[in-house]
Symmetry: C2
Subunit: 370 residues, 2 copies
């Protein structure tokens, strides 16, 4: 683990760079706004894959979340070790070693997992039996993202019966997450995608319940669509993650009137390390400091200064003639293109309030890929 680039009490401008900076006022505001925005009949289970941080998970739970989601067994292990008592792994967990660890974790915390395959269900049941635990299993149905997931309707019903027939598993409901819809820019197109997803979930639930099986939880949603699922009367649990931080990609979505205004709380602090020309400067934060899979970072509050190109350890800034030119040694805040993989590059959140470092939080599950 790399040493922290800051000490508590330091001014932001003295923090070493590149550093992952969290504005605590904005983070707290985002956690509060989400808790308020969700329909009272819907449980909030934020996705911890965005922050990978036990401290943030505990704050979300203190604000009313029922637990968190995670995407990997090792991520769930790190969060449980950090004091989280209820984790839904929103992913298929396949392979003896992983499934064993998942079942073992269920001795320490409430643990749920997804399945989309009958063979995998048998593997989960055997592991749960060996650990003498009961695992909650939700069926992932493909509601339009075309990634994992079984077809809604009859195939899901058959799998639900298989799960219900396992002694050490409990059929807990449906996972109907539409990942592809989160970054659709137009609000009306997002609404249409989630309406179709909700209908698939509703129909599948009805089919399963007609066969006498309870289908307790319908979960899904992300930061781009959660109010739609929350208001659908189909979903009773939602799992947005990025809202705690936001990023350049989410900020490009067009939001409906009435959508909560989440603030940008996550930044990469970078130093201007070279000013080779009047129209160009270079910062010390490149590909290894800010993930570019969803586009380049934006330079915060510096109109006319564009982060144009990233290489491994450099970011090239294009400076418009009218812009205030960055000086050598100056520190700039960048808004990452995509928050989740950017957070995963760092060991520490440098938590800042009104320009002062107030806390250093470890990224508890950084690199927890397994």
């Amino acid at each position: 683990m790399v040493i922290a680039p800051a000490r508590i009490g330091m001014h932001l401008e003295d923090v070493d760079t590149p550093a992952l900076v969290v504005d605590l006022d904005a983070l707290e505001s985002n956690i509060g706004r989400m808790a308020k925005a969700v329909d009272h009949a819907v449980r909030l289970r934020p996705h911890a894959k965005s922050h990978k941080c036990a401290e943030i998970a505990r704050r979300q739970i203190a604000a009313g979340a029922v637990g968190v989601c995670s995407q990997k067994v090792s991520e769930a292990e790190a969060l449980v070790a950090g004091g989280v008592a209820d984790v839904l792994v929103t992913n298929e967990i396949v392979g003896a070693r992983k499934v064993e660890r998942l079942a073992r974790l269920a001795r320490e915390a409430k643990v749920g997992v997804l399945a989309d395959d009958a063979g995998n269900v048998a593997e989960l049941d055997a592991a749960a039996r060996a650990e003498r635990v009961r695992l909650d299993v939700l069926i992932e149905i493909d509601v339009g993202a075309h990634r994992c997931g079984i077809e809604p309707g009859a195939p899901a019903l058959a799998l639900a019966k298989a799960i219900a027939g396992c002694r050490n598993l409990r059929f807990a409901g449906l996972h109907a997450y539409h990942g592809a819809a989160q970054h659709v820019r137009s609000a009306s197109e997002r609404a249409a995608a989630i309406a179709a997803a909700a209908e698939k979930a509703r129909m599948t639930k009805a089919l399963i319940e007609r066969e006498g099986l309870a289908c307790e939880t319908i979960t899904g949603a992300g930061t781009g669509t959660f109010l739609l699922e929350s208001g659908s009367r189909v979903f009773n649990e939602i799992q947005p993650g990025s809202y705690v931080f936001m990023d350049a990609d989410y900020n490009r979505n067009a939001w409906e009137t009435g959508w909560p205004r989440f603030e940008q709380s996550l930044f990469v602090l970078a130093t201007v390390m070279s000013v080779p020309a009047s129209d160009r400067a270079v910062v010390d934060a490149g590909l290894k400091a800010s993930s570019v899979d969803s586009g380049m970072p934006l330079v915060h509050e510096r109109p006319g200064v564009e982060y144009a190109k990233a290489s491994d350890e450099h970011g090239v800034l294009k400076i418009a003639p009218s812009a205030k030119a960055p000086k050598l040694g100056e520190k700039l805040l960048l808004i990452p293109g995509h928050c989740d993989p950017t957070v995963n590059l760092y060991d520490w959140f440098v938590c800042v309030r009104k320009g002062r470092v107030e806390a250093l939080w470890p990224v508890t599950a950084r690199g927890a890929l397994y």
Copy 2:
């Protein structure tokens, strides 16, 4: 630091996933081929930003390298702590805290650094004086990459005089790296770019030497061009990095006859976690397991199986009708699109020989961004 996904002696197929796998036969062959390929009048100083691993650096030095390059002070610190005695930081280091640490490191190892600004030179000199060390400083000249670097010719000469005038700095030569040329696909276009870069370096060196200043080292080159610099009679040091591993992006270059055949030694091992349709499978290695900045990973030795789309924790494979379809739970080797930022995602190299885990090497400088 995440626990290692393997134990020594294990079969490759029992390694937990995603895992960063190194084929030791291929790695050793690549280290040997590079040592042999370099002109005997040219020093090899491989770039450690690719592997960030003290164990690999020591092997490169044992095979004849004079030391290594690094891109960050904290990366250099980690390598020196791991037993490397000579590190050139091929980057401008700006800001009091970083410059102090750089100078302190020069008490433990031979340390060099780049500069492209007179103010920064003064900052380096003051830090070196405070630590009572002498720092080697090379001038970075812009030979066509248009990132950092001062203009060749007169501006470089003025900076060389400024460095030579500093009591605690030694003017050590020119850094003439053409990053943009490394991934130009056509061999003749790469040759033209490096010929132009070499001419700029030669002319600047001559200008500086006419003023009575020694210009000892001319360094540059990467895996895509190193034979050109090595044969130029201008460069006397080269710094390729990726050749130890290779990646999908470098493998797309067209190589000249006589270019050493570096083998792919770096892989991401992934598990097939969902097979939702006959033309689609999903692996557990996404954006957080393989950097996609230079394109998607390739599936190793599985014709007709294409890694089509990455999300945070998933990779979607498209399966051609003629292809052998991946089975649920099967493990596949992926060739990363870009080796450097992929290595930086992992804590461990799982080192494999003929299908067995022979060693686990920490990625010593993983996340060393500062």
